[in-house]
Symmetry: C2
Subunit: 190 residues, 2 copies
DNA sequence: ACCTGAACACCGTTCAAGT
DNA sequence: ACCTGAACACCGTTCAAGT
């Protein structure tokens, strides 16, 4: 039967979850789908575009949140982190897709964070910057967290003491640094 | 004549500057040095370790700064950004080496940022986190900035308006968000 | 100690040709 | 429209064997 984009992205996500990003190759994916590598290039222009589609699949559960600007920022960042932690190497994959401009969902996230920053009182020109800073933090923190998880899932409990205690609290602390910074740069605080 | 680690790292850096990270392969590097690929594996355990050495070569100009905690954070981050902007794809390369734990200089940077945060009044447990947040920001921002520079050096002046004006000021704004956040989380402000 | 030769097990991408 | 076959131009890594 015919190969659809959705099937390709689903198989790619399964490959990611089971073997990690290093084994997510076009050839391996084609083998899994029982097609020739060239077949994938009928549906996707290149690997980067396919990975972008996988990124957006992973980020499907990320939606906006209601409430004040603080709650909206903290909420969407929490959803983002949760989605990333649900798939092997997802933080790395989404970081790459975001940098390459291949993730529509990340663009949405950026827009929402920017709106929240604007509501906090940051000028329009700086609101996008504030939003980007938050995204850099979430992706950096989560990629770090995830690589450590995989490291000591592989049996190495070296100096894990500091990192293993309350990763969510640690995540919140760094995020609050930015939120407080945004609040400091504004007049109307909610 | 004999191949030394320094020669290998120098050649790798030249390759990076001239052709970018995508063309920095073990085989290409060996060809440039007029040796067999296997020769490189006498000097370096693997590619990751070699890239870590290149990262630390790029970061050589990054040293500490004197002054209050704010000046020390802003200073070292500025040096970091300057070093990264001096070599093609350096932000991407250093990010990867940092994530892989292969850059000693980045560990030093982390230590110095942590000390500055502690001096700002952040608790010892949170100081390292604050330091990491700053590093995530600098690497994220600069990787973004650098990829855009290369994009529109290649002739695409699409919506460059917002990004091209005062990248240094934009960098400072986001960094200040974090610095202000750190100040908000402390008692003694310098 | 340091390097070569040669192999192993892969990659992403293209494109004429088939159905 | 959708896919195969086959090629092109590569990868990182290992390791016996040479000097």
């Amino acid at each position: 039967m015919q190969l659809h984009k959705r099937d390709v992205v689903d198989a790619a996500t399964a490959l990611l979850d089971d073997y990690g990003i290093a084994d997510l190759s076009m050839r391996r994916l084609a083998r899994e789908l029982a097609v020739t590598p060239g077949a994938l290039y009928w549906h996707f222009a290149n690997k980067q575009q396919l990975l972008g589609a996988v990124a957006d699949r992973i980020l499907e559960p990320v939606h906006g949140e209601r409430g004040g600007w603080r709650a909206r920022i903290v909420g969407i960042c929490g959803q983002l982190r949760d989605a990333l932690l649900s798939h092997t190497d997802a933080a790395e994959l989404v970081s790459a897709s975001f940098a390459a401009g291949q993730s529509e969902v990340m663009d949405d996230v950026l827009t929402q964070l920017g709106a929240a920053a604007a509501e906090a009182g940051v000028t329009a020109a700086n609101a996008e910057l504030a939003a980007r800073s938050v995204v850099y933090y979430v992706l950096g923190f989560t990629a770090d967290e995830q690589s450590r998880m995989q490291w000591d899932a592989a049996g190495a409990d070296v100096a894990a003491t500091v990192w293993n205690q309350n990763p969510s609290a640690r995540f919140a602390f760094g995020l609050n640094l930015l939120v407080d910074g945004i609040a400091a740069h504004s007049r109307a605080d909610a």
